[in-house]
Symmetry: C2
Subunit: 102 residues, 2 copies
């Protein structure tokens, strides 16, 4: 077994609660807090904490705007976030292939 | 995006330090502590702690024997450990496929 792909996994993304947030944002240009919470079935507190960590890592950007006179906050992957997520998924693919003997 | 495979990830296996231990043991009938440590480039303390958690979860069995008059401890996946690891890798594969749009 080659341990390299395991060693290279980004801990910020690998966390079970943060991985689906990255995957969800990778599949959309941007999403609101409510859209993310409803898709991921997370509590407000959990989602807030994980998004903050991803933001502090430079992987997620936060945009505050107004829509119909009400504040709307949207989230999207930064260029760096998209890059590290692609690398992370490539490592997962290597791990799956190794483990399935491909 | 379907969040189910993310939600189903086994936290005991998903931890970055434990995942390569499970993958290594899945690829061999049994291994000694030294063999695992050298392949995974882990410290004794780290490996000991992770193996203990996997043992307590019922995923890894520990066998103590003598070889040439010296004690030899070997580790292997239990039947349950092999089953949960296979399920975990199947989930990773679904996550990779979703993320690559396959």
């Amino acid at each position: 077994m080659n341990p390299e792909p395991f060693l290279q996994l980004d801990r910020v993304i690998h966390e079970k609660g943060r991985l689906p947030i990255m995957a969800l944002l990778a599949a959309a240009p941007q999403l609101s807090f409510t859209e993310m919470r409803d898709t991921l079935k997370m509590t407000d507190g959990n989602l807030t904490a994980h998004v903050r960590t991803l933001h502090e890592a430079g992987y997620v950007s936060v945009t505050k705007a107004f829509q119909g006179g009400r504040p709307l906050t949207t989230y999207s992957l930064t260029k760096q976030g998209r890059k590290v997520f692609t690398s992370y998924i490539d490592l997962l693919e290597q791990i799956v292939q190794q483990s399935k003997g491909k």
